[in-house]
Amino acid sequence: MHEISIVRNVFDTLQETYPDKFDQITKVQMEAGLLSNIQPILIQNAFEALILEEPGLADIELEVVQLPIIAHCDACGQDFEVVRHRFVCACGTPSKKIVQGEELQISKVEFFGN
């Protein structure tokens, strides 16, 4: 989708959240649900492009974890994985109660420190 602005947003958010130890960040993990239309390789490319502007970020490792779509079925009470955007439980009941898959967030930050 809009990978450059998303990557920019990642580091703006981190600077805002960790003003005192932003410069100690070594690794950032992002979670992107399949419904967020995020392609991990394009995020990496955008990150490389941002590093040209902000060389200081070159030492940070960025990991993008894609999360599958999980929905909850009220009929059988189970969660099921939505494959190929078919929102139908194995028991045959349609459901769009999304439990996971819309995420676009920073999930883990690692810092060098003591």
Partner: protein, 238 residues
């Protein structure tokens, strides 16, 4: 930005790592503004109308305005990458409309709506349409503070679209099949598109409409009137 002083974690042989498991939502800025819009427009039914370019959103708005002008107070915020052509078309038929020029952007963000609210008089308005930029991908991700999202799909676009653009149809309450007067001439099955859309969103309603010929317009206007009434009733009980 300041410069990190330490090497990449995977290259490090000494030192210690602290880990912070967190949830920092990257669309929080938009979602925060969308919430503010919802609070500001708490007594107006807001419908976000999405589709590809050229599906007939503006014509649908024009015809809806003509039919409902004596029953409802209606306004339209219309987004396009460039030009004010759509707002001009609305105003020509007497609709209270404001153009949002996104400056090339492929979707409307909540901040643009919030700013637009300062430039349109919504006193007494019951129903506000947001006519989004023609695009079935990006607008799906941006909450504009709407109550309902409606996706318009023209009969000429093909009945295989819902599964190709799942998030849009997943987040819509209603799919309007527009240009329905062309159905006899194009390979488009309302039944097939309904089935495709319901595999993504089992709860989606489907309506076939021809804005130009009038087919389905009564059903559409009744649906709108009922939704406005529902919104007003929810305010009274709240």
């Amino acid at each position: 930005m300041s410069t990190p002083k330490y090497p990449k974690s995977n290259q490090m042989s000494v030192g210690s790592i602290q880990c912070d498991n967190t949830t920092l939502n990257l669309l929080k800025a938009n979602d925060f503004v969308a919430k503010a819009i919802r609070e500001k427009l708490s007594d107006v039914l807001v419908i976000n109308v999405c589709s590809s370019p050229g599906s007939g959103k503006t014509t649908l708005m024009q015809e809806t305005g003509k039919r409902l002008s004596d029953k409802l107070n209606l306004a339209v915020l219309v987004g396009d990458p460039e030009t004010d052509r759509d707002a001009v078309r609305m105003k020509e038929v007497g609709i209270n409309a404001l153009q949002i020029v996104t400056g090339g952007m492929c979707h409307i963000e909540a901040q643009m709506i919030l700013q637009a609210l300062d430039h349109i008089d919504l006193t007494g308005v019951d129903l506000l349409f947001i006519e989004n930029v023609g695009n079935l991908v990006c607008p799906a991700a941006f909450d504009l503070g709407e109550d309902i999202r409606v996706t318009v799909l023209a009969a000429t676009e093909g009945d295989d679209k819902p599964k190709k653009y799942p998030r849009m149809f997943l987040t819509s309450e209603l799919m309007v099949v527009s240009k329905a007067d062309l159905l006899p001439y194009v390979p488009f099955s309302v039944e097939a598109v309904t089935q495709d859309a319901r595999e993504v969103n089992p709860a989606i309603d489907v309506m076939a409409i021809s804005s130009l010929k009038g087919d389905g317009m009564d059903e559409w206007c009744d649906w709108l009137m009922a939704k406005v009434a529902e919104k007003k009733a929810s305010l009274e009980t709240a």
